[in-house]
Symmetry: C2
Subunit: 254 residues, 2 copies
Amino acid sequence: MPNVPAAASALDVLEYLSRHAEPVPAASIARDLPLPRSSVYHLLKVLCSRGYVTHYVEDRRFGLGSAAYELGSAYQRQAPLARVARGPVRRLVDQSGRNAHFATLDGRDVIYLLEERAPSQPTLVTDVGVRLPAHLTASGVAMLAALPGPQVRALYPDRDSFTQRHGTGPRSLTELRSLLSRTRTDGFAREDGTVTPELSSVAVAVLDRAERPLAAVAVTFRSVDGQPEHVADLVGRAKAAAGDIARRLSPTPR
Amino acid sequence: MPNVPAAASALDVLEYLSRHAEPVPAASIARDLPLPRSSVYHLLKVLCSRGYVTHYVEDRRFGLGSAAYELGSAYQRQAPLARVARGPVRRLVDQSGRNAHFATLDGRDVIYLLEERAPSQPTLVTDVGVRLPAHLTASGVAMLAALPGPQVRALYPDRDSFTQRHGTGPRSLTELRSLLSRTRTDGFAREDGTVTPELSSVAVAVLDRAERPLAAVAVTFRSVDGQPEHVADLVGRAKAAAGDIARRLSPTPR
DNA sequence: CACAATTGTCTCGGATCCGAGACGATCCAC
DNA sequence: GTGGATCGTCTCGGATCCGAGACAATTGTG
């Protein structure tokens, strides 16, 4: 592949700054990337002039600038998650003959970004835009299982955090942790009747390159159809869809 | 200044994509920037491999990637607003002899990021991290005045949106709009006793390059000291501080 | 179905850039 | 106060890159 080294170096500098909680001196950037000192200053000049980097003159340090934030906001406005997920989720529905949906985590809620219906399958409550408590849904549990423990604790500081639905679901952090541990062991999350009585879902998380959960893919079926080999088949297909989505969102660097 | 054209072009491509609500074909990028076709493909290759751009193969289009979002998140983690504002706000306090603070808008709240105390001035409630309803504070009103009308309406959909404090402040969207209009005319926002009885504040917004409010700077004084010429002096100093902060956050492109 | 348009990849040589190193200014340690 | 270390800018020549244009594959149109 053709190399565009100056562009790649500019990204290196931005990513270096983004890995640091505080602004850093130019000498550290040059040393750690490593890049020639004069090249680093040239790059910083351009990045500063475009607002991607802020020069803290008094501290003689450099940090990310507001243009970096603007890029992040623009990314969110393009709704890329649902856009990228549409094809794989459609194929999952076609292949499995079941309803599927795609959701992301927002605090203690899951928010549904996409739902694809299979013929003759029951209507779901998981319409686009709907929010449900994460710990009560397969998608939510799949994503929570991929979060670091301290972050889960921060989300669920006390027993009041655990809303109920149909009298089911974890009621404490201990119960939730146990559920998340089992989810990690199984490689997927499952709920039976917690969201909708007589319906079950299996879900897997879509992870970014840092193994953080971006979203989750779930397949829903009637609970009476929940034979182990059937469930295993659906989990496998959901995993394939999740992997496909992950690859499109965060390509492996070459 | 030394030019690093490939780095600048890479930023051009990212900004072009961020200006579009939908992914775009490579031909549009080449035509509109304008850049040579082969150069655009080279840049897209690098940006895709690093996750800044996503190639929507089926649509033959390109959109921003999750790495753009990660940069934006990293920017927020560095808390650059308070970092950049500290010096100018400290100088404002030194020059005016009054307390000053710096806040940003979060939904219908202002959240205080920085407070600098002057000797022998009264303690304020606006400690770092404190949230107050925006429409009741000078800083909040200054930032709301810089928002487009539809965005203000979205923030305040009904009368229940208008919390009260000490029985003062706007009670309806009509009253709020009137206040914001006066604020735009005056060039600053003022509150007298709404946050703390017997204390007044004047505030001005810190605007980014798109004239959107990033934050606000406010000076607080005893209401009995509120003679017009004194207030005008404080407003002028607050404006200078706001301008200084804005220049550091979003340098004018060359 | 045939042709035109577009997309994406690839080559290679002239033009341009990158980076070593010099320099002046500023900061820091003793 | 002095000398060393660091920062930020600048020059310029050899090495590298950029981009015109060819090509094959795919898509769109009549």
